[in-house]
Symmetry: C2
Subunit: 318 residues, 2 copies
């Protein structure tokens, strides 16, 4: 009935800060119930202004929720020893490192130096391996919770908020029938995310420069983990039926092609660069341009879990 012939954006932008609210409240209550202020230590060993901003932002959020936060700025060559000191310091509850430090595989080495018990980012090999295998606890007695890597977890929570998970379906199968494209297959976000979504029932196409892989939960009730296959399909083929598109390409020039997006799809970008142009809303029903605030909420939620694990260990030895 409109006399305008211009195509108007139909979709809606949902901000991470809106989605984060319920988790922020949950964490704040958790700290109150705890009756003490756990300490998070962040390590900054680069000159990257984006990392410094993220550090300041984590600091502010942590303190506003009742945590203690300490930013330790160290030389990159001193970082390993500094992490080990924090590992050994009983007054430190959680540790995070603002990467990149060296910008190469040495960063993965450093990440593993952070002790399992204090790794709020959930990037310790043991946490990642447990995630791939749907193993929820660290111990056979199921007292110590295994945490999840915070960025993939944040994206799962965002997709829950956006209604991609159908709550009528049984838990663990709530993405059944959904098709998801994830453009990024890094070891710290893209690959774990594809696995998490596949474990919830989705068919996930994981896209990177090497090609496209399909992650599914596979068949058979005994399957303990998702199944991965290389597929000989184009981006267009995997995208045209995609209900959800998640991007994480760290390049200012990369833009996901709007014309490939199905009408009414959900688009989420976790890169610090804008991987979608704003006109994506001409196609997408729901668009989340950044995810950082939910990631920080998950990080602090992980910290609470680690503090609970610690209390459990102390109780067990007394």
């Amino acid at each position: 009935m409109s006399d305008s012939t211009a195509v108007k954006p139909a979709g809606q932008t949902i901000l991470a800060s809106t989605i984060a609210k319920q988790y922020i409240a949950e964490v704040e209550n958790g700290v109150k119930e705890l009756g003490r202020s756990p300490t998070l230590v962040g390590f900054l060993a680069n000159e990257d202004p984006a990392a410094r901003m993220y550090a300041d932002w984590t600091g502010k959020t942590s303190e506003s929720l009742g945590f203690k936060y300490e930013l330790r700025v160290v030389d990159k060559e001193e970082l390993e020893e500094a992490i080990i000191d924090a590992n050994n310091d009983d007054s430190v509850d959680g540790i995070m490192v603002y990467f990149p430090v060296f910008g190469n595989r040495q960063d993965q080495y450093l990440q593993q130096v952070v002790s399992l018990e204090k790794d709020v980012e959930g990037l310790n090999h043991k946490y990642i391996q447990n995630m791939y295998h749907n193993t929820r606890f660290l111990d056979a007695e199921e007292k110590q919770k295994s945490i999840l890597p915070c960025t993939p977890l944040a994206i799962v929570k965002i997709l829950e908020y956006l209604g991609a998970y159908n709550t009528i379906l049984p838990y663990g199968n709530r993405l059944y029938g959904k098709q998801v494209v994830v453009v990024n297959r890094s070891e710290i976000v893209g690959r774990p995310l594809a696995a998490l979504l596949a474990n919830d029932g989705a068919t996930v196409y994981s896209v990177d420069l090497d090609g496209i892989q399909r992650f599914t939960r596979g068949e058979g009730i005994k399957l303990t983990r998702h199944k991965v296959e290389d597929v000989d399909m184009t981006l267009e083929e995997v995208t045209k039926n995609a209900d959800v598109i998640v991007t994480g390409v760290p390049s200012p020039s990369y833009k996901f092609p709007k014309e490939l997006v199905k009408e009414g799809a959900i688009c989420v970008n976790f890169s610090s660069e804008k991987n979608f142009n704003p006109d994506i809303k001409e196609r997408a029903a729901l668009y989340v341009p950044m995810t950082g605030k939910v990631t920080i909420a998950m990080l602090l939620r992980n910290l609470l879990r680690l503090v609970q694990n610690k209390a459990g260990r102390i109780a067990a030895t007394n």
Copy 2:
């Protein structure tokens, strides 16, 4: 007095097979003393003919020294589960994976799936971290030996054989005064090697595409690990006084420039490509064109250590 005006090679080629002999004998005796044949399982999940050759070669050497060897050829998507099965199988003593599998960081994830107790390559994060910190045992009681990554260890043994280590000097300081250039700073060979040599007293220049770093033991008797600094020097400047040059550039076109090599230097190449032209002997006093046979000897030596650790753990719980 020669009437020839052509420059003749002055240096000598030393083959890895010659250097490996004493270690092969040591391992063979170790297996005899053990009174049983430990089992090594190798996983091949790629089509790379070089990897297949290396697998066959490890198999032959293992069996000739009294070990049992089993090559398991699996699909790359099945590899993780296959490794976990071998981790849980009491009849398997050691595990190795022929990389590359995916050729990206997922390979580092897979390497960490191999259990600490069976990782003959010494690439588990704990072994690498112990190496950087000169920590020789896994436990406070100093019963369980921490093993070393086998390629860097092989190069140390090669340099010992070639006389780069001065045995008159006290143990732990036998490279004192030596200058070493390592062209490769990978997390599995170049960087650990630079650290090992610096921990033995050398000044090591670690060269890669990102620039040059200097590894030294640093000053002060309390220093528990080497010190690393970025240096603003050229390859020519760091090479002209180098007593030892170690290369590991995985490219058929890369050749270390002969004219930079000091007369009488030691040149060792651990790449599967030939990083030196044969005329390097016009400058180098000693030249080792390949190191694989010493690496395999170290791998089997590590396997023996792991079996001894296992015996120690069983004895401790009985």
